[in-house]
Symmetry: C2
């Protein structure tokens, strides 16, 4: 069994950055990645707000570049699905995978998070053609048009207010008769002239010929169906992180891994970074920042582990 | 007097990123920059560890790109030196500058930090030709050579241990007879076969014909002078942030601005990000992550301010 100083779980931009920094700190580092490297961003369209690319960069191209950079530094990639992290020999960790166990002193979890989807007809088919999960990313395409936001929390309110600057009309579709968003956001929503809140409503279907043209709504109290015409629908009903497999080991909050400012979890030697942790903001810029700090903390941990257990090395 | 939602002080990569995100959040944002945009990185040589550039990128080129990106988003640049931040009308802030006062709801401070220099003959002249302030950045150039690290704290110890993997021989030059570095780092330093600590010593001069060839050392107890031959000298005696002008307004620690995880200072509406704050790591990757979060917090603050003071807007 090959032995590592640090194993990074997840090969997205955050994971590749953490592994690259780990090698740069003089550690032997591998990435465990289930699918192709790249992570969520590999499916994104143009990324406009990652600093360094004034003309924007395609998501898959950015993912490819960061992966190539990690390989150039000497990071190794193990194609496997991590299924458990357990205590190993000598105070190390065992990362159990679909392709055997991996022994490592430290681990960094960087498997990201995904926007929760509505799970309605048309959503998958029209994704990227009027169905979006990020107003800050895609809002500019809807200048002067009519759009809808699904959701009632802070994220939905923020998206709606943001879109109100750009679109001509913004519907907010919310399943209950009051919002969960903070009061000051609610106040601004209510006061905005071009925002209309459709209470007690959910999206039943997204329809259109190759691009979004209308939404079928269902009233949650009367079950009545109705239609609104929109060119875009922004889904803002939260993020999901795949953390069930870690729930017994790590402290979670709302399904996200709790870390301190050094990206350390409640288990010594296990760090988490990027969208999977309890971060205030899920952006590529924040993922790379987190990742560098996670590697820094892993290096400190591995150095201490070595000083305690392997005198003379 | 022009009025802004958010004014970012400092036009380096962090400042430009914060301003770009601020505009992206729908705010009217300006950067106040004393010199040319770019910040510290504009003087760096090749940057290898910023994710997205597998072949590395020249510091000034990265600075130029991020600045261009901010301008493309609609950020305005004000050429002036910020000299004071004071309470303004309606709960706003007044940023006083060499070019007049600027009224803003929120401010983000991103003026960075600089490695402390030795202030000895030859240091300035041979910077980039054997004199370095970052082993992680420049260490690879010294494979198989002899180098020195000046300093006795954690940073110096980390730099020396890192260089010990690459260089043939590493001197650590420390002015006292014991190190300030953590015990586990000291242990590893003492055990490394190719690290030699020169106690009670300071660098008196850096000498060489176009590149570093030798150091003149002075013994702090006997005042005796001596020479060692090295190809590189890494200065690791800490960072300096220019925060005197903020000392009465903001909470500082060791001269750096104290922030919470949302990059908020102790003054509502004033954020700080990047190297100038009490961050565990000073890297471009961490600066851009901080910057995005600072803009996020500024947006929240400006939204609340507006909801309270300007009903209907």
């Amino acid at each position: 069994m090959e032995k590592w100083d640090v194993v990074v779980i997840g090969g997205g931009v955050g994971g590749c950055t953490a592994a690259m920094y780990a090698v740069r700190y003089g550690m032997k580092a591998a990435i465990v990645e289930m699918l192709l490297p790249g992570g969520q961003i590999a499916t994104a369209t143009t990324v406009e707000n990652y600093p360094g690319f004034p003309e924007g960069i395609e998501g898959p191209e950015l993912a490819r570049r960061v992966h190539e950079q990690a390989l150039a530094f000497g990071v190794e990639v193990i194609s496997a699905e991590a299924t458990e992290i357990a205590a190993g020999p000598e105070g190390k960790w065992l990362v159990k995978t679909s392709n055997g166990d991996i022994e490592t002193v430290a681990a960094i979890i960087a498997t990201g998070a995904y926007p929760r989807s509505l799970q309605v007809p048309g959503e998958k088919e029209l994704r990227g053609h009027g169905v979006s999960y990020c107003a800050t990313c895609d809002g500019f395409f809807y200048r002067g048009q009519t759009v809808a936001v699904a959701g009632g929390g802070n994220a939905a309110a923020e998206e709606a207010l943001y879109l109100a600057h750009i679109a001509e009309k913004v519907y907010v579709i919310h399943r209950r008769d009051e919002l969960r968003a903070d009061k000051y956001l609610q106040k601004r929503l209510f006061e905005a002239k071009n925002i209309e809140i459709l209470w007690n409503s959910v999206v039943a279907a997204i329809e259109g010929d190759g691009e979004v043209e209308r939404l079928q709504l269902r009233n949650t109290q009367t079950e009545e169906l109705s239609y609104i015409e929109v060119q875009g629908i922004f889904v803002a009903i939260g993020y999901i992180a795949k953390t069930e497999w870690l729930a017994e080991l790590l402290e979670l909050t709302d399904g996200f891994i709790v870390t301190d400012r050094l990206m350390r979890t409640n288990q010594a030697g296990i760090m988490a970074c990027g969208d999977i942790r309890n971060t205030p903001l899920r952006q590529i810029a924040t993922a790379v920042g987190d990742a560098a700090i996670a590697a820094f903390s892993a290096h400190k941990y591995v150095s201490e582990w070595r000083a305690e257990r392997q005198p003379g090395q």
